[in-house]
Symmetry: C2
């Protein structure tokens, strides 16, 4: 291959992310716009591909390319790799197209060996600094290149040594101490890998490059990519850059900063730094850094230079930047810049304010905010009324906003087992500090609490990225993960105890506090109003009661797309009536039960119609199989077996046994092998029409009553699980009769429609016929996904779907984001053929996909009229609909050219 493998920073630019990775491209860009960047070069992502294709071997010729690049760096710096005077040291860092913070490997101080150590000591006169750098280098390099855990070095040698010599802080260690530690480190490496630690800087360099490529496929990187949907094929670049030292003395330091506050979005420089430290000390949260504003007092000229760099970068990139910098002997160096991760509230505020500042357009602002940003914004917060009486355990840093309640767990695996994706418990992950191995547990938790680390610690960055509330650095906590408990201010909190976190204040409370929904205004309101001006797709909500309907209206819902009627049957007062209706053979009793249920349902619908005040309400008639309302089959088997044994000795149990046996026989007669595909939905209505006649009567009576009161009502009655138009014909004509009867009885006309769910593949395939009867379509993509894939969601998600996504057999869980090739193809076909048969047929979606941004965009593309989702997803759907419309416009514009 003749492609260029190595790019000096001066040869690249910000558009070359595919080839140079994000970090490399931005180092190049910064170099070219004249910022103080230590010189260096990038080995391309394509080389990573070559490395793997060759069975993990660096390509021939790469070394020569590296040599030329190193020569230029040597020339710029006036230093020499392995030189016995002014030796050149390198940092070696990974850098993929998409940021994967902390997931891959880094080596600092590369190039140190006995010869360069001596030269460095000679040059700096600071033996302590040189050996501190050396012990860091040995540890990082050995971890990365030889797979010897850092923990071996850090805990078993370094901390033990500190204890022995009575050093409280790293700063208490002398040069001699560090020399001794370095020697112990070297010995440990030899014991572990059976070879001496490499002293040839070129060997060090090649081993480090290979290690970075290998780290692309370490477990935590793979896990991160899967979570963030980053393709596996793109590979990582390697950035090799001349070292500058933040730990070379008290006029040195290192820090990270954001050009605006990544938590709130406020337009003010936000960051932290540590004097006399290397970057890893800040990121790992080992020492607690100080705010960037302190720098202003300590060194105003450096501070001013830094502010002007920040401004330059923000107006250059037109986005909030996340920066890494080092100060070496009073000189500022920029080591990294990238678009900063931000919380949802920050994303919205920054996008809206940048429109105000003329930096970006409204369309760009809409595109800058993601569904998960809004999701965070809409997180619940603690009800202030509940705070005065709450037990405040401690206060940490407000690291990721939103409030969370959950049971305490002490490790990531337990969190993953019990939390989201596991048992579904609400859990709070409590750790001393987190590291990349903890991410899967953080994702499963409602919230994260750490005892150590700052706002830019791993825990804080990851939690913000995923919109999980986080309190970091709550130093009062003594976490004892082994005993599964933590102590704080005289309290002991054990695993399983419930706590409440406030990620916006840093407060930690004992027990469960009342959470309330967020208010939505300000920048959020502006953004949403721009989205509403932009989008074509309407957004409705799924709501089964007036409270949810009200909540959804506040979030901008334009109607109800799915009101399930059977949830109401599970109410404690009603369930006995439902059971009696199902079990009786006496039509008289059945009619009486239905009459009682009619009253309840009519009240339900009145409430919802009132709440929606004139907006359309789509009501789905009964869907689940009737046995869902009856006692458990297994429980009855247990009970009857028990009673059978007992009744041989106790005649009094015989009557009870007979009753239970009768019930068991009933339940057995209704049992189904595959209830998902059994007697439910419209099938039930055909076999037992009494229930849907009652429901239709309840809907129309409620509507007629409100119509008389002058309240506008638009019920859309939806018949579920149609697989052939004839089912619709039969049921719809029966219900039309009921509707007409009710209107005649009340002497009032009601505007209503009958429509159907499209949730069975055959319904999609025969949509043309179905549209001759149905006045609207609503895609039930949950069932449609089940049938199209032949996946029972209940079984698949526990048994094989996770593995399918892990193994890339499926790109994502199709129950979360619409499978466009299969399910989507059926939807598109149904819309086209439905509208060919009934012009302007209203089409919507009411499956859970209606709140998934990718799916919303797809719904826009195939021409649906609306999506419907849970109340809290309504703003997300509004935003995604706007993004879809913008994408359309861009396509049109491109096509016009």
């Amino acid at each position: 291959m003749s492609q260029k493998r190595v790019f000096l920073f001066r040869e690249g630019n910000a558009t070359m992310r595919d080839l140079l990775g994000g970090k490399g491209a931005n180092l190049a860009e910064m170099t070219n716009i004249g910022l103080p960047v230590p010189p260096g070069f990038t080995i391309t992502t394509a080389v990573c591909g070559e490395y793997y294709q060759a069975g993990k071997a660096l390509p021939h010729g790469l070394l020569d390319d590296m040599k030329s690049a190193v020569a230029e760096v040597e020339q710029i710096t006036g230093r020499r790799l392995g030189g016995s005077e002014k030796p050149l040291l390198f940092s070696v860092r990974s850098g993929a197209k998409f940021s994967m913070p902390g997931m891959m490997d880094t080596v600092l101080n590369l190039g140190l060996n006995p010869q360069t150590l001596e030269a460095m000591v000679k040059e700096t006169g600071d033996e302590r600094f040189v050996y501190d750098s050396y012990r860091r280098f040995i540890m990082m390099f050995s971890d990365v290149a030889f797979g010897i855990p850092k923990h071996d070095f850090d805990n078993e040698i370094f901390q033990v040594f500190k204890y022995k010599v009575g050093a409280k802080s790293d700063l208490d260690l002398t040069a001699e101490h560090l020399k001794e530690i370095s020697a112990q480190f070297l010995a440990h490496v030899k014991a572990e890998v059976g070879r001496d630690f490499p002293t040839d800087p070129w060997e060090q360099l090649q081993l480090a490059v290979e290690a970075v490529f290998r780290s692309w496929n370490n477990d935590r990187a793979i896990f991160y990519r899967r979570t963030e949907k980053i393709p596996d094929e793109i590979g990582t670049a390697v950035n090799i850059q001349a070292m500058v030292f933040g730990n070379a003395g008290d006029d040195c330091g290192t820090g990270v900063a954001f050009t605006r506050d990544p938590s709130t979005g406020e337009k003010s420089l936000f960051g932290e730094y540590l004097m006399n430290a290397q970057g890893e000390d800040v990121v790992a949260g080992v020492r607690t850094p100080v705010p960037i504003s302190t720098l202003q007092k300590q060194n105003e000229s450096i501070y001013n230079e830094f502010v002007s760099v920040c401004n330059k970068l923000e107006s250059h990139y037109k986005d909030m930047q996340d920066l890494e910098f080092t100060i070496e002997h009073g000189k500022l160096y920029m080591l990294q810049c990238r678009s900063g991760k931000r919380t949802g509230p920050a994303a919205v505020r920054i996008a809206v304010e940048m429109v105000g500042e003329g930096l970006i357009s409204k369309d760009e602002a809409i595109n800058r905010v993601t569904g998960s940003h809004l999701d965070q914004l809409l997180h619940p917060r603690i009800n202030p009324d509940s705070i005065p009486s709450a037990i405040l355990l401690a206060k940490g840093l407000a690291a990721s906003p939103g409030a969370a309640v959950g049971k305490v767990v002490f490790d990531a695996d337990t969190a993953a087992d019990k939390g989201k994706g596991g048992n579904g418990d609400q859990v709070i992950l409590v750790r001393d500090e987190t590291n990349p191995d903890d991410v899967h547990g953080m994702l499963a938790a409602q919230g994260v609490l750490t005892a150590r680390g700052g706002k830019t610690s791993h825990a804080a960055v990851v939690a913000r990225g995923f919109g999980i509330p986080c309190v970091a650095g709550a130093e009062a906590l003594e976490v004892n993960a082994t005993n599964r408990q933590f102590h704080v201010e005289g309290h002991t909190v054990k695993e399983g105890d419930i706590i409440t976190l406030d990620g916006s204040t840093g407060n930690i409370y004992f027990g469960k506090l009342d959470l309330i929904a967020p208010e939505v205004s300000g920048a959020f309101g502006d953004l949403m109003s721009w989205a509403d001006e932009t989008r074509r797709l309407r957004v409705r909500t799924n709501a089964d009661n007036p409270q949810d309907a009200q909540q959804a209206l506040e979030f901008g819902a334009e109607g109800i797309g799915l009101c399930r009627t059977e949830h109401m049957f599970f109410d404690k007062e009603r369930l006995p009536l439902v059971q009696e209706m199902i079990l009786t053979k006496d039509q008289g009793i059945r009619d009486k039960c239905l009459a009682s249920l009619l009253e309840f349902q009519q009240n339900d619908f009145e409430g919802i119609f009132r709440a929606m005040g004139g907006k359309p309400v789509t009501i789905r008639l009964i869907d689940p199989p009737l046995h869902e309302f009856l006692p458990s089959h297994e429980e009855l088997i247990r009970e009857t077996t028990e009673l059978q044994i007992k009744s041989s000795t106790n005649p009094h149990t015989l009557a009870k046994l007979n009753e239970k046996l009768k019930l068991l026989a009933e339940v057995e007669s209704m049992k189904e092998s595959n209830p998902m595909m059994g007697l439910r939905g419209v099938r039930l209505s055909i076999i037992m029409p009494g229930i849907v006649v009652m429901q239709t009567r309840a809907i129309l009576q409620a509507a007629a009553k409100l119509t008389k009161e002058g309240i506008a009502v638009y019920p859309e009655i939806m018949i579920p699980l149609i697989s052939t138009v004839n089912e619709l014909k039969v049921v719809q004509s029966l219900l039309e009769d009921t509707a007409k009867k009710v209107m005649a009885e009340h002497g009032t006309a009601v505007s209503y429609q009958f429509g159907t769910m499209i949730e069975i593949p055959r319904a999609a395939l025969t949509a043309g016929e179905i549209a001759e009867y149905a006045q609207f379509f609503s895609f039930g993509t949950n069932d449609l996904t089940q049938m199209t894939f032949g996946f029972s969601r209940d079984d698949a998600e526990g048994k094989f779907l996770t593995q399918y996504v892990d193994q890339k057999i499926l790109p994502t869980n199709p129950f979360e984001s619409i499978d466009q090739a299969g399910v989507g193809r059926l939807m598109k076909l149904a819309v086209q053929e439905g509208r060919a048969s009934r012009e302007g047929l209203k089409c919507g979606i009411c499956g859970e996909h209606g709140g998934d941004p990718e799916s919303v965009i797809f719904c826009h593309q195939i021409g649906l009229d609306y999506v419907s989702c849970s109340p809290f997803r309504v703003p997300i759907a509004r935003l995604a609909a706007a993004q879809a419309a913008i994408r359309d416009r861009m396509t049109v514009t491109t096509a016009d050219k």
Copy 2:
């Protein structure tokens, strides 16, 4: 409406079946080719539609049309309706486009009243004949027009009267007796309906016409249409024809005949007649008729005339005819002709012989034979070896061929409950005689046995039509339906006892005799060879063992389209190994189990490959969920509950309890909500690849061994339940490795292919992608139907599918015949897109639909390469494939014009 409502026979012809019904069209045709047909006219089927559309009222103007038609009949016959001299009497009969024998109503002798009675007596001088006609008229008319059961007249008045006067036969009754009986009949009518029996012949006529229209929608007619797939909308015509009398004296008679033997197809006149009788006496089996050959001796000239009529009709219609005739005072009249119903063997023989006679072409012969004809031909017969030791209970008439074994039942409802479509027991319906109300029970039975009636009795005709073995008129039987038993020659046979019928000999045996498969040769062989020359579609079989494979080869199978591999796992020797493999956590033990299973499976495949000798064999890898191989969950709940109670009093049960609890936990962990859509098929292979690796090894080892022996082997390895191409990629590449390893180990190349089932809607929708990997497609239409409809077959067929077909929500059960609009659309799309991506992709079907003629024709149309079905359906599929090819040719020919 201006359409002609009434057609005189001279105005119609045989092509007008839609309008005039089959009977009317043929009466017209016979009239116009000069045969002796009593004059009359037909009221069209369109009037039946008008009648129902008007809410059951005859249209205005119809009476005038009828008056003109009657006037012409009066003119031809020289008689007058209601005339006081030479009165004209009419028969009024239904007649739909498709024959529905005995399903609708008939009235004979219409026009009798006090005045015409007197005139008839005067004219014939035979008072007994006239009143015999009158009492029949009153009974039939009252049954039909007023709904008074015939049974009332026949049992409660007529038989009582006979007993009182000591008459053994109807012929013992005098004219006075019949007058008295008629008077009692008239009194009964008045008592029942509160009005006098109508005396105005025009009122009689209108009431009779309305009654015939009404009878279109009686229960048995509706049931018959559903069974025979006759549309409800087509309605019936009414044929009004001048009466001729078979019961006017000893030179009179009436009979039915077939131009060839409808049981065997032999080219000789076959029929029965009764002298001095009306047609109903023959059909109802009340008196036992004599063979048509007797007529030759009794009246040679009439017989010769009849033979020449038969020859004329057969060469005119080019098909075997079913005729009704009457002889009135030595003159022959033809009352009906139609294509005769025939047994399967007869259909084949007649078709083949007519080709030999130059009457029809080979294509026509192929089209004349149906799948159910062949099905009968392939019916099993009694093993002759088992006959010598069998207990022969009695001998009846060989009314419908084939042998049947089953439990005796005494009424149609019980037969329907217990038999096919019910519990699935094998039952024999035993009745004195059958009537149209019994048809649903006959359909559910393996065979039918009656104590009364001839070969043209209801039981015989219906059984032949449906291919059910039948012994009729076994007069030695004393059937006591009330006590659920019959007596014969000193034996008492009770409900539930097993008997064996031989419908080809009329023998009835006690107990279960050994049945063997039919031999296939002669006419069947000729027809099949023509079919094979004609068809494009290949026919394979579904077979899991060498015996089935052998049977299928004899029936002409060209390969195996589906060999299920998991059936072999249920073998007594292997199941414990399978269970251990599933339950163990120890990989070593699992590998050992798999190694043992490998040996078994290799032997299975060797046997099948040997049997198929070089023909392709498609082997499906494991498909069902593993929990199918484990003990029942419910049973374990019962056992553990029991043990739990007992172990409190008996410590010895504790160990057993613990073991069972462990097993229960395992079974519970594998339990699924919807196993049909759970962890099975390829999903299982991805999660637990050991099993399919073992199976692939077994297939390749067997193939390699036989290849070395010089036996050709073409295994096609089929991966089930694919929903995305990635599943195939993962599993196929794993198995390719195994295959290559085995070939290397054996040093032999084997020709094999990997392909996939298309049985999930998404697989069909993404067939283009899948075909990039799959070397063949096989449609699994059972699952594809389940997923496309969202119907779990296990649940649907018991819970709603019957009702769906009854209510015409579905035209047929989609598990029996492919749903072309939904499932078929997916299949067509998959074939097209699969072949677009892989040219000439081999496509077949292995669902049960492969043996359904309509489905086979559809498979031909969408371009499949083969169908696969159970061994006994192979000839049916070959025939249907030929019919499909002929249909194609005809379409092409038409298009060429």
